[in-house]
């Protein structure tokens, strides 16, 4: 699945750079840089899927004590970090070309998404700094839940506090604002990133399961129970 996702993302890039129609020079300061939108939007979409998995995994660990849910927490945080960084840096590049500044501290949507990505970095680095155990899992699962509060905030921010960052172009409820060819490339990108992120999380969960098995074997060799 991971491989199919990679192939899809590669195809999206090729289509975005070579096939997708150019945008009007009257509507954009930097029409060439607009093509990064085919990467930026699907990456942000995939990040929301990953952060959703982080939330479900965190809640599942805290309330059900499920090992599978803990693995979902780990996978969600790592995938959220990867795709969150993709969305943030692609946004910075686009912003630098279009607005003349890579970051706008007054834009709530931009900042809340940045904070969500920072939280993913915190959870991944923090968890890796600790030995695995119930204390580590409880603490970072609690932060996983806390982080998800930022997701609806970001969602609301796209609709209320659109200052510099453009509003949503699809699923707005009153028809899409982009033409069919652009929509097709965006759709391929969204599907590819979705497949990629699911593959990434499945691989990550498998890796975590193997790490846990290795730890149990090491513990047995240590002479523990």
């Amino acid at each position: 699945m991971l491989f199919i996702g990679f192939m899809g993302i590669g195809t999206t890039l090729l289509l975005a750079l070579l096939w997708a129609p150019s945008v009007s020079i009257n509507a954009f300061e930097s029409p060439a840089a607009q093509r990064i939108f085919y990467w930026h939007v699907p990456a942000a979409w995939a990040a929301f899927i990953a952060f959703g998995a982080l939330f479900v995994g965190s809640a599942g660990w805290l309330f059900k004590r499920s090992e599978w849910m803990w693995r979902l927490h780990v996978a969600g945080s790592e995938a959220g970090l990867a795709t969150g960084l993709m969305a943030v840096w692609s946004g910075c590049v686009w912003g630098a070309a279009e607005w003349g500044t890579p970051w706008d501290w007054t834009d709530v949507r931009l900042n809340s998404f940045g904070l969500l990505t920072l939280l993913a970095i915190y959870v991944v680095l923090g968890r890796n700094s600790q030995p695995d155990g119930v204390e580590t899992r409880d603490t970072f699962a609690a932060f996983g839940l806390y982080g998800f509060v930022l997701v609806p905030l970001t969602y609301i921010a796209t609709r209320i506090w659109t200052i510099r960052h453009p509003g949503p172009v699809v699923a707005t409820g009153d028809g899409s604002s982009i033409n069919s060819d652009m929509g097709l490339v965006l759709l391929i990108g969204a599907v590819s990133f979705t497949v990629f992120i699911i593959g990434h999380m499945m691989t990550s969960m498998r890796l975590t399961a193997l790490e846990q098995r290795l730890e149990r074997m090491q513990h047995r060799f240590d002479g523990g129970a």
Partner: protein, 410 residues
């Protein structure tokens, strides 16, 4: 298995408790009952779970299953509910649970005040040969002397309390000389005679001799033993006193050690210094930008968090306060004062004005940011390596209230 119930009041009940630490289940289906006038001594090999049981009994550790009751009040349960104990709780941890910056007598008075009462300190200090050290800092004591202070801090609240108290002692004999262990045994006997309940973990035969019951943590078995005859050693007069709150203690420590100067104030001063070095630039800015610069040093002060959090890791002082004082000490109103001073300095330095509403806003900003970062720092206390966590990565969330505040002020 719990000891047979008598007519005495049950001060502590653990009901079907399961506790995990790391990847191991340390306590499984553990039930224990300690009544007034009993001394229950926990036995078992190293790693059997004695300290875990004691800290669970004090409501310090989260449980996977079960509950801990002090009388009929559930002080902790597996659902995460927490309530303050209705009893005076005395606690001796394996670490000494006090800061090096505390004065010996003050620490003991603070411990006693948790019971709402106090007794004369001098006889206790004399028995432990600490009278000449009463006004010394804890940091200046030897390890053995510091251990004596920690033991006294665990026992004195019960000596002062006119009502039954729960005393939890984790290897109180460790590091004490022979004479001190003998005195400790007699005090334990006296406390049992007074109707208090003691729960003790030890490997020392002389401590075990004080037990009315032995509890084998490995096997989960209770055994009634023959304790020494009850005796009352000294008559003490207990007088009411006001309990010292964790916040009052935190403020006192901040004022005494000036720990805020090393971190928070230096960050603020450096930021202010950089702004002043930029020269006359404020006139070219709009009101929003001016506010952003004026409040920047105050924000820097708050973003450093509460230095007391790191200090309280020393000898697990924060854990001791949670057990006996109901919460961890914090800086209280100190950030308000520091925030007001820094905002006042910045408004004068950059704008040559004294707008009191900006000073007030700066004080509130500093208070909120300081305590928010302090909360973030405290949220990692349960971890094996709390210092290794990247708490700083969470602080950018505080840009949002800062942005809102400068928007409102401009």
């Amino acid at each position: 298995m719990a000891p047979p119930r008598t007519m005495a009041k049950a001060l502590l009940s653990l009901v079907d408790v399961q506790v995990r630490r790391g990847m191991n289940t340390v306590l499984e289906d553990c039930s224990l009952l300690v009544e007034a006038g009993q001394t229950v001594v926990l036995t078992g090999a190293n790693g059997a779970g004695k300290s875990t049981l004691l800290e669970t009994a004090a409501g310090l550790l989260p449980m996977e299953r079960g509950r801990v009751q002090h009388d009929h009040v559930v002080v902790a349960d597996a659902e995460g509910r927490r309530r303050k104990s209705p009893f005076t709780v005395g606690m001796v941890l394996q670490r000494n649970g006090m800061l090096g910056g505390e004065v010996l007598a003050e620490h003991l008075q603070a411990a006693m005040s948790m019971s709402g009462h106090s007794v004369e300190l001098d006889p206790f200090l004399k028995r432990f040969n600490l009278m000449h050290r009463a006004n010394d800092l804890v940091a200046h004591l030897s390890q053995g002397q510091a251990r004596k202070v920690a033991v006294l801090a665990g026992l004195l609240p019960a000596f002062a309390s006119p009502t039954p108290a729960l005393i939890i002692l984790d290897e109180p004999d460790a590091g004490l000389d022979e004479a001190s262990i003998d005195i400790l045994g007699r005090w334990m006997n006296e406390l049992r005679t007074m109707g208090h309940a003691l729960l003790v973990a030890t490997h020392d035969e002389r401590m075990m001799a004080q037990a009315t019951h032995l509890y084998d943590v490995d096997q989960g078995k209770f055994q009634t033993t023959t304790a020494p005859p009850e005796e009352r050693i000294e008559n003490r007069t207990s007088r009411p006193t006001k309990p010292l709150s964790p916040a009052a203690f935190g403020v006192k420590m901040h004022l005494r050690t000036m720990m805020w100067l090393n971190t928070n104030a230096m960050a603020g001063l450096l930021t202010l210094g950089i702004l002043l070095a930029l020269g006359d630039f404020m006139d070219d800015l709009d009101r929003l930008q001016q506010m952003g610069f004026i409040l920047a040093p105050t924000l820097a002060v708050g973003l450093c968090g509460d230095p007391l959090v790191a200090a309280l890791r020393e000898e697990r002082a924060g854990v001791w306060w949670r057990a006996v004082g109901g919460g961890e000490p914090h800086a209280g109103w100190i950030p308000l004062a520091i925030g007001a001073v820094f905002t006042f300095l910045t408004t004068n330095g950059l704008r040559d004005g004294r707008e009191m509403h900006i000073v007030l806003a700066g004080a509130v900003l500093c208070f909120l940011v300081w305590h928010s970062v302090g909360w973030m720092q405290r949220s990692t206390q349960r971890l094996a390596r709390p210092h290794a966590v990247f708490v700083g990565l969470l602080t950018p969330v505080l840009i949002l209230p800062y942005s809102v505040l400068i928007s409102v002020l401009s």
